[in-house]
């Protein structure tokens, strides 16, 4: 009983811990309850149409009506379409071949090609099955009168689905590279948040501050070992991906290592900021967790990014993990080069600058 009372008194003193105890379950509820949707809809789609006919228009219309597709762009060339998929701007490209309607009318069963970015099978599978069933029925309304004989099976057109990057739809291919970002976030944020608070809590900070070494140097000195730790973790995951999970590594690993520095730095910046805010190690861990939770849930790691409501996507866009996941998957699965990943580097860089400036601003040179 004495201990129960003591715990409550201590809990009341430690405001931040108390706030976290309320805040974390609340956040979990919001995130799991509202943000997560494993049936993503309105996926961005590009259309490359060489045949502007009633039929092709009704197919596009039907796709949009299914709720799974949202046509965001009409492109003119294969190359343009390929770039959109590589950069991850669209999830699908619908390719309507030349003379589609003529062949259709002649009963030649023309092919309708849907290219899907299948890096995340969970994001595309429902849309793809919707597409398959829709092509069977879509033209029923248009094929009337003299054309009604075309309505009989087999279907008047063939739908060909071409899944790129992860043709077999193996979930590990998507998860394992993503894991890299998750592991880095978790360990780096927690470790750096702890590193400084530990010095403070154990009283060794007092000693460090009394030496001629500049506080900024102390901080940098504390960070560098963990950057190295981060890289070791990365190498470990890449090796595991290659030899344990047989993930095809399409891209340039060196590029990945270089770009990762930005991500590692962004996470360290967060950890550092936490370590200047937290008064003890428990608080530091809680803050790290508070950051980790949305990172893992809203970044597109656990659940398809495009399945989340717009507000959750906006939060996700702020998080470095979101962009890093796109980069890692881009490089490893799609073989992206520097050009394709640049759009995802800016947000991380901005995040890094903001996190570091808060960290430095909050950083106390003295004990008061």
């Amino acid at each position: 009983m004495a201990i129960v009372i003591k715990e409550f008194v201590q809990m009341r003193r430690d405001r931040i811990t108390f706030a976290m105890m309320i805040g974390i379950p609340f956040m979990q509820m919001i995130l799991f309850g509202f943000a997560i949707n494993s049936d993503p809809k309105h996926l961005p789609t590009a259309v490359l149409s060489a045949d502007n006919s009633t039929f092709s228009r009704s197919i596009i219309q039907a796709m949009e009506n299914s709720g799974y597709f949202r046509v965001v762009k009409v492109v003119q060339s294969e190359a343009e379409a390929a770039l959109l998929i590589d950069e991850g701007d669209v999830q699908f490209v619908l390719n309507i071949p030349e003379q589609f309607s003529r062949k259709l009318l002649r009963g030649e069963r023309p092919a309708l090609l849907l290219t899907a970015d299948a890096t995340d099978p969970a994001a595309t599978s429902n849309a793809l099955s919707a597409f398959r069933s829709l092509t069977e029925s879509v033209l029923a309304r248009d094929l009337e009168g003299p054309l009604s004989h075309l309505r009989r099976p087999p279907a008047p057109l063939q739908s060909i689905i071409h899944t790129r990057f992860n043709p077999e739809g193996i979930t590990q291919y998507n998860i394992v590279p993503g894991l890299m970002g998750v592991v880095l976030t978790m360990t780096l944020v927690i470790i750096t948040a702890l590193a400084m608070t530990r010095e403070r809590e154990r009283g060794t900070m007092e000693n460090l501050l009394s030496t001629p070494v500049h506080p900024i140097e102390v901080m940098i000195g504390k960070i560098i070992p963990y950057i190295i730790v981060g890289y070791i973790q990365m190498c470990f995951i890449v090796l595991a991906a290659r030899y344990l999970f047989h993930v095809p590594l399409a891209g340039n690993l060196l590029l990945l290592l270089v770009v990762s520095l930005l991500f590692i730095a962004a996470n360290l910046g967060v950890g550092l900021t936490f370590s200047t805010l937290a008064r003890n190690q428990l608080q530091a861990v809680q803050m790290a967790f508070f950051f980790f939770l949305p990172s893992i849930l809203l970044s597109g790691f656990m659940f398809p990014f495009r399945g989340m409501p717009p507000w959750a996507q906006r939060v996700g866009e702020v998080l470095p993990l979101t962009h890093y996941l796109r980069i890692v998957r881009g490089i490893l699965l799609k073989g992206n080069g520097i050009h394709e990943i640049t759009p995802n580097m800016w947000p991380m860089a901005i995040f890094l600058v903001v996190a570091l400036s808060i960290g430095f601003k909050r950083y106390r040179r003295t004990l008061d």
């Binding site: 154990r202 009283g203 060794t204 007092e206 000693n207 009394s210 030496t211 001629p212 003295t366 004990l367």
Partner: protein, 307 residues
């Protein structure tokens, strides 16, 4: 810095408060070079706070100070390489060995030929046999010794030692003071906070701080003389019964038991002497003695409490 003449520490009207609690009030003080300066005062009187301000760990709210010729507020970066600060709480790494701790501190100060310096200091401080032991597993006294070694490593000009001998056995304390004396002989200044009266008496000069106020400064003799206290010692049997009786006598301000002896003090020497002689009895031995620091400090503390 003009060697030899300017004081090692000179502060003026230094003030520091936490929240609305003023912890150090307009403190002005000078410590000469090569001096061993004792810093005394009850718990929470602001000793640690004052020392932290000297080495740039805390910013004073107001007032100014010069330490080794540099401004303590704006030039603390120039002060730090020349001071050895030993904090009240053990602040080395418990999960590093003695040698690793010293190596680390050596690198932090960028001392030349650091391996050799570390070996020398370990030899000198008698730490060699613990070299590979984790600092956390040392006994309290040896931790203190390690802490002292780590702040001597870079050969500072000024030592700021915050209760360096708390919880240390008498032999180790004597060793410690021998070290401090030999350091002072080399011209190194030491500011040492302590709660021990015998240590206070070993200092060249001392200051007594109470609730942020500087109540007395000077040599031990100056401090006792300026207190104006007269002290009598009474010895005999059943002293504790007598104690209450004596306390009630006119002129008696303070009764401090020392085993079978009572030290009775008062500012009014005549009145005190009359009162004590009036109750004189063959069972007790009454004797006038020189006032010690302990009596002075307890009396100062009592006066503070009254006001």
């Amino acid at each position: 810095m003009s060697e030899g003449f300017s004081p090692a520490i000179s502060v003026k009207d230094l003030t520091k408060s936490f929240g609305d609690k003023v912890v150090v009030k307009k403190l002005s003080l000078q410590v000469e070079q090569g001096e061993i300066f004792g810093f005394l005062g009850p718990n929470g009187s602001g000793k640690t706070t004052f020392i932290r301000m000297l080495c740039g760990l805390l910013r004073p709210d107001s007032g100014s100070g010069i330490c080794l010729g540099y401004n303590i507020v704006s030039e603390s970066a120039k002060i730090k390489p020349n001071i050895g600060y030993m904090s009240q709480k053990f602040s080395l790494y418990e999960d590093l060995s003695v040698r690793e701790n010293l190596n680390f501190m050596g690198r932090m100060y960028g001392i030349p030929r650091q391996r050799l310096a570390v070996a020398e200091i370990m030899e000198h401080m008698g730490l060699s046999r613990f070299a590979e032991q984790l600092a956390g597993t040392l006994s309290g006294g040896w931790k203190q010794r390690l802490a002292l070694a780590s702040c001597l490593l870079h050969k500072p000009k000024l030592l700021l030692l915050d209760e360096p001998t708390a919880g240390v056995d008498p032999k180790a304390r004597r060793d410690f003071w021998d070290d401090v004396y030999s350091m002072a002989a080399l011209g190194i200044t030491a500011l040492i906070s302590t709660h021990y009266m015998d240590e206070a008496e070993r200092c060249h000069r001392l200051a007594y701080l109470s609730y942020g106020n500087l109540l007395a400064v000077g040599t031990a003799d100056e401090v006792t003389a300026s207190s104006g206290l007269a002290t009598w010692s009474i010895s005999g049997k059943k002293m504790h019964e007598l104690s209450a009786q004596i306390k009630a006598l006119p002129g008696v301000e303070l009764v401090i038991p020392f085993g079978n002896t009572l030290h009775v003090c008062g500012h009014d020497e005549l009145l005190l002497s009359q009162s004590l002689h009036a109750m004189k009895n063959s069972e007790y031995r009454l004797e006038k003695i020189a006032t010690g620091l302990e009596e002075v400090f307890i009396s100062l503390m009592q006066d503070q409490g009254d006001s």
